[in-house]
Assembly symmetry: C2
Homo-oligomer: 253 residues x 2
């Protein structure tokens, strides 16, 4: 099983995910996420955890554990299907020629983007594009082309992996396009550690983004041409209030 | 509070959402979703439910209940932040001039797109664009322009509200662009009633989509240029296996 842990707070993890972890014999995951998990949940289990860039090793070991008949769960933060571990597990199964030997179930989770959007207000009420700025596995030309296309077609933009120590200039290039195409004042939401310890939420204008405070634990939202800021919240209107007359007052309580 | 119910199965609803509903005095929601909820959860509460297109009335009544001092929860299927009720509640608060009188918390949920992706395999391992085909509140020219832009920039496409009885031709227009820009054979996933009763999951080629079986309970995924089908699953590679050498065999079990 590939299981989504949700953003971090245990009361945002689905009961189905919890049950899968409780009944598993082997838990496989990035050590940063394993350490966030309730330790009671891991008691008595074999834990396989590796660091950043250890994805392939983890998936490989998980597959061989499962082939040996052990109930194995690969955990992934947020939703395992959004830039998560689901794909690598399925790809590797296929590459190893064992896709038909193992039954893999994917249990979805509350994605980082949903958790962050809830903290910002309602930025995703209209069409949106989700883009990772990491050019480790994707050429930068493809990434920047996608950003420009999404901006020009007036999608709300959700940016994953916006900046790391070794990959610092890409965010500036992306924001340059944002300001050029959507203007200096378009609302931008920056959420760090959404719904987990160390949570930070900021709503600013594109021209005021503090790049140095952005890292790999951050996720960035760029509003579309209609997105507004009210009471420090980002709201992308869906169009109801523009189309239909405002509702009548009704009795309170 | 605006609370995400998740896709439908109660074991995919977050504990925080369940608790919010349990402790609320008033529950407000679309009658189709209220009827899917565990009836024990609703016992003894005031229920305000209306039909399709009753969103504005529901939000309005919820706000007045809350202004009257009642603990009020607006429920939204999937994640309330993705084409859900979060935006309308916040917009209406602002329009009514009471944004500072009420504290609104948004509790995220497992989105329909995450639930559907888990059933299809791993279509969202790379950048994706989410587009609603409903032209009730958005001009069709804007929608089709977004579809073309997303296809040309090689985003995976996620299509919400693909087809209704009164709105049948739009899907054909969208699929025409898909076939033109991405080819007849690009993998397309069609999921109906993801993780709730009546679930249907199909993986086909763009040229073989059966439009007549698609409705408002369906969500459609169009692969990017790299998306493949293996063992009837849609997999969009992230690029690990292309970049790094395949892993070594390890001991089973």
């Amino acid at each position: 099983m590939v299981v989504g842990l949700g953003p971090g707070d245990s009361d945002l993890m689905a009961p189905r995910a919890r049950e899968a972890i409780e009944t598993a014999q082997v838990i496989v995951g990035y050590k940063g996420y394993i350490s966030l998990m309730d330790s009671a949940l891991l008691e008595g289990k074999e834990i396989i955890s590796t660091g950043m860039k250890g994805e392939m090793e983890r998936c490989n070991r998980a597959i061989y554990k499962a082939l040996g008949g052990r109930d194995t769960v690969v955990v992934s933060s947020g939703d395992p299907g959004i830039y998560g571990m689901a794909g690598l597990v399925l790809e590797l199964l296929d590459k190893l020629g064992v896709a038909h030997e193992l039954e893999v179930e994917i249990i979805p989770g509350i994605s980082a983007l949903a958790a962050a959007a809830a903290l910002l207000g309602a930025p995703l009420m209209h069409d949106f594009a989700v883009i990772s700025l990491s050019d480790l596995l994707t050429p930068w030309e493809v990434i920047i082309k996608r950003i420009e296309a999404a901006l020009e077609a007036d999608f709300v933009l959700v940016i994953y992996n916006p900046r790391s120590k070794k990959r610092a200039w890409q965010l500036g290039e992306a924001l340059k396009r944002v300001k050029m195409i959507r203007g200096d004042d378009v609302p931008v939401g920056v959420v760090r550690n959404a719904s987990r310890q160390g949570q930070e939420v900021k709503v600013v204008r594109a021209k005021d983004v503090d790049e140095s405070s952005v890292d790999m634990l951050s996720i960035i939202f760029v509003g579309n041409s209609q997105t507004r800021v009210h009471a420090n919240r980002m709201i992308t209107p869906r169009g109801y209030l523009e189309k239909y007359s405002p509702p009548q007052e009704v009795e309170k309580g």
